[in-house]
């Protein structure tokens, strides 16, 4: 059996955890939910830092926890990145990196030391003292340190939440490259929908110790029966590829089956995978294709369903020809005037797109 199988029961005071899910043996899975929903508890149990006594955990068929069986954390092939970098302060940056590395027999090291250092851009920091690093630098070292154990599963517990906005933005590209270049399956705990949208392939949605839903991130973000679509900054993500660059107007075209979208020019080769985020409030709908508008990102879509958010607004879920979904937040008045309802074909006018 490939992938991660998790089944956990745990009680702590009023809090009851009872979840069961499994994930693929590749890609990033976000464990998403509000604080106190049990996501960190789940991550710690998978790592072996917490024994729930009830449940089971296995990776690719190897049991880590079962009835009366508990593999201690230090024997599980995982990498763990904590919320705070938690570097060993009595060791230099280099020694911190080597700490896990030296515990792995040579034959089992799948990643080269120098490659990991380069991937996270920390070559310059090796000689420095850990106390002299910024928050973002520390966290990058913590990630590299975890990777150097050549883990079969990377567990990340809100690794960006302790960082300021700038450091967060600076570290995200490194997380992308982990994803693209290493192919280590990872579980990423977050309560930030933007982080989940940007990084996750799959999402496991949690609330009060229970599983709400699980599935592809792009699908879950737009499901109207889940709380995600009701957020003010509810957004959909579309996966496509860079199809052309327009040097005259400094634009790049991102294509997907069933439409294409222009974004400010990006430095990415044609053919490369690209993911864009479109906020529900930036999408308006029209019955006809307008050419006399400043908006030129217009996608033909079908309305799948709608959901009233409050007395004046509703959110509509739209499907592209390739079955990717988009959200539009519009007034109920418009919906009634235009006769918008399930099944009809409309044009989604996208005012703003963010490449993520």
């Amino acid at each position: 059996m490939s992938g991660l199988q998790v089944e956990l029961k745990h009680s702590l005071g009023d809090f009851n955890l009872n979840v069961s899910f499994s994930t693929q043996a590749s890609g990033v899975t976000a464990l998403f939910g509000p604080s106190g929903c049990g996501k960190t508890t789940i991550l710690r149990a998978i790592a072996g830092l917490l024994n729930t006594h009830q449940g089971q955990v296995s990776l690719n068929g190897q049991q880590w926890q079962a009835d009366n069986y508990f593999l201690p954390a230090y024997e599980r092939p995982i990498g763990y990145v904590f919320q705070e970098a938690s570097l060993f302060q009595h060791l230099s940056v280099r020694k911190n990196l080597e700490y896990g590395w030296k515990n792995i027999p040579q034959a089992k090291r799948h990643l080269k030391f120098d490659d990991v250092v380069e991937l996270l851009g920390i070559g310059e920091l090796l000689k420095r003292k850990t106390v002299k690093l910024s928050g973002g630098e520390r966290q990058r070292i913590a990630i590299a340190r975890a990777l150097l154990t050549s883990p079969k599963l990377l567990l990340m517990d809100e690794p960006l939440s302790a960082l300021d906005h700038g450091s967060k933005q600076a570290i995200l590209p490194y997380l992308d490259s982990l994803h693209d270049e290493l192919g280590i399956p990872s579980l990423y705990v977050t309560h930030d929908p933007n982080e989940a949208a940007r990084l996750a392939d799959e999402m496991v949605l949690l609330d009060k110790g229970k599983l709400l839903a699980q599935g592809k991130a792009s699908k879950l973000l737009t499901r109207l029966d889940l709380p995600l679509a009701e957020f003010d900054d509810a957004a959909a993500i579309l996966d496509g590829f860079v199809s052309a660059h327009d040097d005259t107007y400094h634009l790049s075209w991102i294509s997907m089956h069933g439409g294409r979208i222009a974004v400010s020019q990006v430095n990415r080769p044609v053919g490369k995978h690209a993911r864009v985020k479109i906020q529900a409030k930036d999408v308006s709908l029209s019955l006809k294709l307008h050419s006399d508008t400043s908006i030129f990102n217009i996608l033909p879509v079908t309305i799948i369903d709608t959901h009233d958010i409050n007395e004046s607004q509703l959110i509509a879920r739209l499907q592209l020809q390739d079955e990717q979904t988009l959200l539009a937040r519009i007034t109920r008045r418009s919906a009634i005037t235009l006769g918008l309802k399930e099944g009809i074909q409309v044009y989604a006018q996208v005012k703003s797109v963010a490449l993520i």
Partner: protein
Amino acid sequence: MDWQAVWLTLKLATITTLILLLVGTPIAWWLARSRSAWKEVIASIVALPLVLPPSVIGFYLLLLLGPNGPVGAFTQALGLGTLPFTFPGLVVGSVLYSLPFVVQPIRNAFEAIGNRPFEVAATLRASPWQSFYEIALPLARPGFLTGAVLGFAHTVGEFGVVLMIGGNIPGETKVISVAIYDHVEALEFQEAHLLSAGMLVFSFIVVASMYVLEKRIGVKPS
């Protein structure tokens, strides 16, 4: 000058400190990390010498180690004779008497490390032994220094326990504090002055150097 007493005192304090570091470290580790209900009971027993009059400790040790005590019977059965009024007996008494001075700072240092570094070490595949040697010991270094200095100094300064179970045998159990007492009893104030002033200077140096060293190597876990 009573060089014999000075030498004996230093020998006693050194051996006692070494034994205390060996015995005190596991105790301190257990007290810092255990969640056992017995923890505070054991901690109280270890701390008892802080509040008990030294003569009480000496008295019970005398009974315990003497020819009619259980430990005495045991040492006699082994053909070692009895411990009171011998140097090894003094070592045993000093170890018990100075135990809290070594255990407490080391325990505090272990506790100050917190759980996180050990969790990190475990996720980096370090076995519990490895994280003890590679994480706990180096991070608790200031505690070990304080414990060793306090244990040494406290042993140098002990009097009551020594007098009860060691007596006053030159070269065997007559340490500086007992020698001073002897001199005062014999009204040899000049000699008493020499030793006392020496102790005063020694104590000051010990405490001062401890503060300085602690500041220099005291990388406090943040």
